[in-house]
Amino acid sequence: MSLNTDMPVRVAAVTPVTDLVKRFRFERMDGHPMPFFSGGAHVVVSMNDNGILRRNPYSLMSNPDDSSGFEISVLRVPNSRGGSIFMHEQVRPGDQLTVSQPVNLFAPDHRGRKHILFAGGIGITPFIAMMEQFSRDNIAFELHYAIRSRSHGAYWQQLLERYGPRRIKIYVDEENTFIPVAEIADNQPLGTHLYVCGPAGMIDGVLLTALRAGWPKENLHSERFLAPPAGLPFQVFLETSNIHMTVGEHQSILEAAEAHGCDAPYMCRGGACGQCETEVLSCDGTLQHNDIYLSDEERASGKKIMICVSRFKGQKLVLQL
């Protein structure tokens, strides 16, 4: 249950961007305008993959002011749980999908006087919408974008043409050019905010470098979507719904509950937002917390679990759901 405001959409266009990235455009089936969103927002796309319901969050990358449609870009991830493969191989123009209302857990801080964006690979997508907004509002920003190779990197040429080399800096692994994070963090006017989206190692590295350069944590922002990690199957009893279920190897507790007809709350499905926080009634085993939401004290208490990404090892887990 995500407030039950999901929108049926038609796939209006599928555009290959690189070998591994495709862009999808969605328009509403009922002809109504899409809701406006703010840069950094994402939607959860629901896919019916041969009877398996898959729901993945994707950052919106179209112009936040354009309510004629939403656009997302999807990186094909081999050996993943299958959402990106489904999007790449099965989804064609004209198909019907369902998307959630936009949710923003990565909004720019409008009190900032300057905004520095660090992107790694497909982590560029939320920044494309953010930069539209900064540019429209005449707000100072610069983008530091790291890609593996010029052929694998998505959108870097278009961004360079649109905003110019003064604001867009491209770094290419293959050419041994890397983002000089320490130098950038070292010399910024007071009131600058920093945003990073990319692989986990990059996010950790950028945040740590900025903290060491004396930045307060309030000026540092990051977004990481965690795919639910696979693990051994386990048993869960949902007390309120009176459902005994097995959570499969490649399933999250949330996905298993949905497959059993339980309408559990969720928003980001990536362990970040806190919407799916569920009370643990009894736990004969160990909770494996994989989220970035619960505090250390909450984890230690053993009373709460984020069912979108966390797992369990042991005999029996009873949840208030």
Binding site: D109, R111, G112, R113, A185, D186, N187, Q188, P189, L190, G191, T192, H193, L211, R212, A213, G214, W215, P216, K217, E218, N219
Partner: protein, 201 residues
């Protein structure tokens, strides 16, 4: 007479010199000088070489804290004659400051509020500002009726210095204005306000 549990009531968690900061800007008033002197006692003198101190003696002038602060030999020490030039110089400091500069404010609540007002214009998140309340508990209060602000209010109710209404001083605080809210206490029956009580000595 104060309503407990008002969320906007500011908390002052005390100065705690940040080891990662590249530059420290201390803006101190009156007894707030002692908050920095205590930090030197607790953390050593190393951070002083990277520190700039703006000091307003105000009510603590007889205690000559300016001599003690100056004797710490910070990178820059400046003794402000009044609040206005201090705010002017603070803006100049913040204009030139880089990320990695940490702001510390200590003194009375009215002073802390007015310095934070300036800091927030520069995009500094108030959570990242270190504050410590020292000296008088007197409040800076905005009359919610005429919008006039009165400094150094020590009683509740008190007569608004702008419109004269007797005002109940609340814990309800505005960061934007750097002031507590004062609400007319005898609006239903004018002339029935209780006698002022010394609440913020």
């Amino acid at each position: 007479m104060l309503v407990a549990g008002i969320k906007s009531r500011p908390e002052y968690k005390g100065l705690d010199v940040d080891a990662h900061a590249k530059r420290h800007l201390f803006v101190l008033e009156g007894e707030g000088a002692q908050a920095l002197i205590d930090q030197v006692g607790a953390k050593g003198r190393d951070f002083l070489a990277k520190s700039e101190i703006l000091y307003l003696a105000a009510a603590a002038a007889p205690k000559a804290y300016d001599v003690a602060l100056s004797a710490l030999s910070p990178d820059v020490f400046w003794h402000a004659p009044t609040l206005q030039p201090l705010l002017f110089r603070l803006r100049a400091c913040l204009d030139l400051a880089r990320m990695g500069t940490r702001l510390y404010i200590a003194g009375t609540e009215g002073f802390i509020g007015q310095i934070m007002q300036v800091a927030m214009e520069y995009g500094i998140d108030y959570h990242s500002i270190h504050t410590e309340h020292r000296g008088s508990a007197a409040r800076r209060v905005q009359c919610v009726h005429c919008k006039g602000i009165t400094d150094n209010v020590t009683t509740s109710p008190f007569a608004c210095t702008h419109c004269g209404l007797p005002l109940l001083v609340r814990d309800h605080y505005s960061r934007r204005l750097g002031a507590f809210q004062g609400v007319n206490i005898d609006a239903e029956e004018p002339g029935t306000a209780p006698a002022p009580e010394e609440m913020f000595p």
